[in-house]
Symmetry: C2
Subunit: 124 residues, 2 copies
Amino acid sequence: MSRNTVGKSKILEIIQSSPIALSHATIQEQMKGTCDRVTIYRILERLVKENEIHRIVNVNGVVNFAACKSCSHSSHHHDHLHFSCTTCGELTCFEDQSVDLKLPSNFIIQEYQLTVAGLCGKCS
Amino acid sequence: MSRNTVGKSKILEIIQSSPIALSHATIQEQMKGTCDRVTIYRILERLVKENEIHRIVNVNGVVNFAACKSCSHSSHHHDHLHFSCTTCGELTCFEDQSVDLKLPSNFIIQEYQLTVAGLCGKCS
DNA sequence: GTTAATTTCGCAACACAGTTGCATAAATAT
DNA sequence: ATATTTATGCAACTGTGTTGCGAAATTAAC
């Protein structure tokens, strides 16, 4: 079983108290040297596996993490939309926006990555 | 103005004759040492700017390139869906699948990145 | 409570995608 | 034919993410 360490709790708290998705680099900054770079990667990996957070690939290719709000631990649906601001870089989740897709029946969907980039409310 | 060089023509041809989107690494392979790594990056950049191809960030964070089929040189709409196969790695464009999004009015959309990952028709 | 088994951590080193600077080469304009 | 502009190749670098391994910390067993 996965253990609850100081680093893990702190990282989860940082992500949960953030209104936007955070990158590894940003989290590392907020950890202020408490944790090793690699440890942060591994903790994030664990938190994803335990369904505490979900990973979103930003339009710049960098992975961001956000807390799973509307997901219970059993049912996960990360098919919602993300908005990435090209000015301030903030990645926002629109958990109410789910998209219905009509793919050929032999295509099996495992993971969603629905992101739109542009200017967010603050920057427009 | 941008020039039409041997490398540029060859790369455009590789992308246009491919049914799936290609990464820099794959294109470099197909160029068989004709072109420097960096030159390929720069040619791809030029082709994107000239609206010959468009870039899609795959779920693994790697940028892929596909020819602009249904886009004229004046009107671009890259709001269509992409499917990334987790087994064979192929990135397919669904140019007929456009998604309607309902964002707050103060959000200005500049770029789309709508990708779904899973098993493609061949791998399912 | 002490010891053994697991898990996590930190460090070093690595892999890979992508970028920048600069001198040279090639293509276009004069 | 020469000057100007653009493109290329090479080297070096940045940033994100990964792997291996010994040490430290945590949990389980005795």
